[in-house]
């Protein structure tokens, strides 16, 4: 556990990817085989069910320390993490015992079936023999919410650095079906349990933001223009009756989208498609916020499948029946893609070709781009028809041309501490605009400011807050911010009557007094007339 705890510590403390890789490589070089397998399991969601309820952990800690509950809660809201709060509040261990990670994991697995008294005895004993950092890790292992600040991709890159095995193959290996008790570390990373030839994805071709005038692009007829969607860019790979879905971040996300797997399995050809994974309901694309509800879940409930159905808009085809098409022209690939869809009668609302926008002159495109927002699209993609499918980001052939965000000026009325890295500062804010007789909340936002600005605001909040206890602070309506967002709609669920899409802080308007913020009326005008801005 000491070794694992040191690894977590070094992973957490640094922002540098290389330092994270080194720490992981070092762990894989020195740890026990079983511990390595558990590390991979923990990173890939293969952890056991939570054996003890967090409310019990809290209760036992209060008993152990003799602190009043309000003081426990006050500590929790300062630390922002239950496992860490427990580890800091409990008294120093009189002596420490070091057991390997896999022993703890086995013990925790067995704990699930024990009585509460037995669980308590086990947990208290562990707490009394672990130092603060290890106690924190132990609590996280129990709690089940083990986020280490390292993506699967980083883990896979470390394994790749260690073994020289292709990173995507490793991704497939660790995500694939394997059982911790019946596989060796060696076999797992060598992929003895998978067939990588079937899953192998291609590197994505990426676009830069448009940086010239449209008429400098040349003839309109040389360009294919499509909507740019705000979902998850993905590749669907189908080979030898196996189906894999890869995300842009080169993570395998197949299991998260069963409806796509179902549709793809009806197609007879083998292929690799590039497209956008979106939430699509009643023929319209939902907001990214909705799509997010579907991501990174262990199980997807029936209700969620109904509320947020998934769709796929196909942009491109990279391979058909084992033939790599990437060096062919976009025009050729598009024809192949259209052929595939028509042969298989694939034009469904939630599985379709990305629409090619018809236009005759560059001047028409600006208006089309501005209307993109009405479809929940974030702008346009401009692709050279002769372009091959490049590896990574290359200038010239593909451009993205996003819509300008809408903005309003609003005043901060609540501030809340963040979590994790941001737990020490007030980082989550609620903003309001004017009404006839006061203020009304219009948005919550927690991104867009620099660390220095957040520190300055946190200090201000400390001085100007009304509450003294708990995580949320009501503040004097004084600080004005420009809030940018992607769309706006009427909403019955919101007191203000409007919902903003993807609000974030554009800048802190230190120059603006609160008397000059927007009113709810001017905000609502953006709905009827969104193109004016």
């Amino acid at each position: 556990m000491k070794q694992f705890s040191q690894l977590i510590n070094s992973l957490e403390i640094t922002n540098k990817t290389n330092a994270k890789l080194d720490a992981l490589v070092n762990f894989f070089e020195t740890a026990l085989d079983k511990d390595k397998l558990w590390l991979i399991a923990l990173f890939t969601g293969k952890r056991p069910k939570r054996p003890v309820k967090t409310s019990l952990l809290k209760q036992w800690c209060i008993e152990e320390t003799g602190l009043p509950e309000w003081l426990f809660l006050e500590s929790y809201s300062t630390v922002g993490d239950l496992g860490e709060t427990l580890s800091l509040l409990l008294p120093e261990p009189s002596n420490t015992i070091d057991k390997p990670l896999h022993i703890y994991m086995d013990e925790l697995k067995q704990l699930s079936t024990k009585s509460d008294d037995e669980k308590k005895a086990y947990v208290l004993n562990a707490w009394r023999h672990l130092d603060t950092q290890q106690r924190f890790i132990f609590n996280k292992l129990i709690g089940g919410s083990f986020r280490i600040g390292v993506s699967k991709k980083t883990l896979v890159n470390a394994l790749s650095k260690l073994t020289n095995i292709d990173a995507n193959q490793l991704m497939h290996s660790i995500i694939g079906q394997w059982d911790i008790n019946s596989i060796s570390f060696e076999d797992l990373i060598n992929g003895s349990h998978i067939n990588y030839d079937n899953s192998k994805p291609y590197p994505f071709c990426l676009a830069y933001s448009l940086e010239k005038n449209l008429d400098e692009l040349g003839s309109v007829s040389d360009w294919q223009v499509e909507y740019k969607w705000d979902g998850i860019r993905g590749q669907i790979v189908k080979r030898n009756n196996e189906i894999y879905i890869w995300s842009r971040g080169e993570e395998l996300v197949t299991k998260q989208f069963p409806e796509l797997v179902e549709i793809v399995s009806t197609i007879k050809e083998d292929f690799v498609l590039d497209g956008e994974i979106l939430a699509v309901k009643d023929q319209s694309v939902l907001l990214f916020n909705d799509l997010q509800k579907r991501l990174n879940r262990k199980t997807i409930s029936k209700k969620l499948l109904q509320d947020v159905p998934i769709g796929f808009f196909a942009y491109d085809i990279l391979e058909i029946n084992d033939e790599d098409l990437r060096a062919k022209s976009l025009q050729f690939r598009r024809n192949t893609l259209e052929q595939l869809f028509s042969d298989n009668q694939l034009s469904k609302p939630n599985f379709k070709l990305s629409e090619v926008i018809q236009f005759n002159k560059w001047e028409e495109l600006d208006a089309i781009r501005n209307e993109a927002r009405l479809h929940n699209s974030e702008g346009l993609m401009l692709k050279q028809k002769q372009s091959e499918y490049h590896v990574g980001r290359k200038k010239g052939d593909w451009w993205k041309w996003k819509v300008e965000p809408l903005t309003i000026d609003a005043v901060m009325i609540y501030a809340q501490k963040g979590s994790g890295r941001r737990s020490s500062k007030y980082t989550d804010y609620t903003f309001a605009v004017k009404t006839e007789d006061g203020l009304v909340t219009v948005a919550k936002a927690y991104s867009g400011l620099t660390n220095d600005e957040i520190t300055e605001i946190s200090r201000w909040v400390n001085k100007n807050a009304i509450e003294k206890f708990g995580p949320v602070r009501t503040v004097k309506p004084e600080l004005v911010f420009e809030i940018a967002f992607e769309g706006i709609a009427f909403s019955k669920r919101h007191k203000s009557g409007v919902a903003l899409r993807f609000p974030r802080i554009k800048r802190w308007r230190k120059d603006k007094p609160v008397s000059e913020i927007d009113t709810i009326e001017t905000v609502k005008q953006l709905i009827t007339n969104p193109l004016d801005v």
Binding site: G420, R421, S424, F469
Partner: protein, 340 residues
């Protein structure tokens, strides 16, 4: 009778007609220690411990009117007996004891109960009323002993040296920097920033012997510094100077580093919970040792600490002051860099 009043300018002694660590200019200021939020500009007259005198002269200018008092001395000001007791916070820091007609009030200033290698250890003083700070007034704050901190820092430096890295510490120029110097003394050469060097010189003038250190100049030779130890004020995080230091591994020394979120927020390679303030148990033991009938709680977690004291049967009240902020160790430093 009541002889202390909390006013807009600071803590006022009514019969003595003087202020304790005032935040607005007054005629007579008694100063607990040299940090910028406790010893401010513009007072007509200053009274401080002899070990703080040169720090104040350095920070506030040579022409201020200043007198000093040692431990075990009493000065009577308008009938109020004033004496100083060690606060263990930084070099020269004191608790201020006021006695008038048999009633004793003690103002803690900032204090730390754990002994270190460099400050005169904290000494509890029995009193009727105690004015305490509460910077780290939550039970999640519990410090390691000085010997444990010393070995943590040493291990980190040795590890860095194995990887050919220069160990760069960030800590407030007054107090924390000298504490770090004492913790890493003897491992390797220590280089300090000019803001720290200036204070070291001021402190040395009072006859205090500090661990050896060298000045890091803006045109330093990379070879000299590589693999060694460097101490910089927190304002230089992300600075050009830092970028010039070869293969730097960075660490912040501050009580706030007890919490993971804070360690990660700063984007440094390590965070050590080295604080010049009392931890939760330190605050509690200090308050109990005074046997005070009434405890006033100032800057930090005053609401929480005061509520807890009342619950355990110690009458307490929170007081709003201009000392510190929740970020107080950083904030103070920014003030210093603009004033020095």
């Amino acid at each position: 009778m009541k002889f202390i009043k909390f006013t807009k300018k600071g803590i006022y002694c009514i019969p003595g007609k003087f202020y304790l660590d005032p935040w607005y200019p007054v005629d007579y200021a008694i100063i607990s220690h040299g940090h910028a939020d406790h010893s401010r500009w513009g007072n007509k007259h200053y009274l401080c411990h002899q070990n703080s005198k040169n720090i104040l002269l350095h920070r506030l200018g040579k022409d201020i009117s200043i007198e000093t008092l040692n431990f075990n001395q009493i000065k009577t000001v308008n009938g109020v007996k004033v004496s100083f007791f060690p606060a263990g916070h930084i070099i020269g820091s004191v608790q201020i004891k006021l006695e008038y007609k048999g009633k004793v009030v003690v103002f803690s200033g900032d204090y730390k109960t754990n002994p270190d290698f460099i400050t005169t250890p904290f000494e509890p003083v029995k009193c009727h009323e105690f004015i305490t700070e509460s910077t780290f007034g939550l039970p999640i704050y519990s410090w390691k002993t000085e010997a444990e901190l010393q070995s943590q820092l040493q291990q980190w430096i040795v590890n860095n040296q194995k990887q050919n890295k220069t160990s760069v510490f960030f800590g407030y120029s007054l107090g924390k920097a000298q504490r770090i110097m004492s913790l890493v003394d003897g491992i390797d050469e220590v280089y300090v920033h000019s803001a720290i060097n200036n204070l070291n010189q001021a402190i040395s003038k009072s006859g205090i012997v500090l661990p050896k250190s060298k000045l890091i100049t803006s045109d330093f030779n990379k070879k000299d510094i590589h693999n060694k130890i460097v101490i910089l004020p927190p304002a230089l995080l992300g600075s050009k100077l830092l970028k010039k230091i070869p293969n730097a591994a960075t660490a912040i020394c501050s009580g706030w580093m007890q919490i993971r979120g804070n360690r990660r927020w700063k984007g440094v390679d390590a965070g050590f919970a080295v604080s010049d303030h009392a931890d939760w148990n330190g605050l509690l033991s200090a308050v109990k040792a005074t046997e005070a009938e009434k405890v006033y709680v100032t800057h930090g977690s005053q609401a929480v600490f005061s509520k807890y004291l009342n619950e355990i049967g110690i009458e307490s009240q929170e007081v709003v002051t201009e000392y510190g902020t929740e970020d107080n160790e950083d904030a103070k430093d920014q003030q210093l860099t603009t004033t020095s």
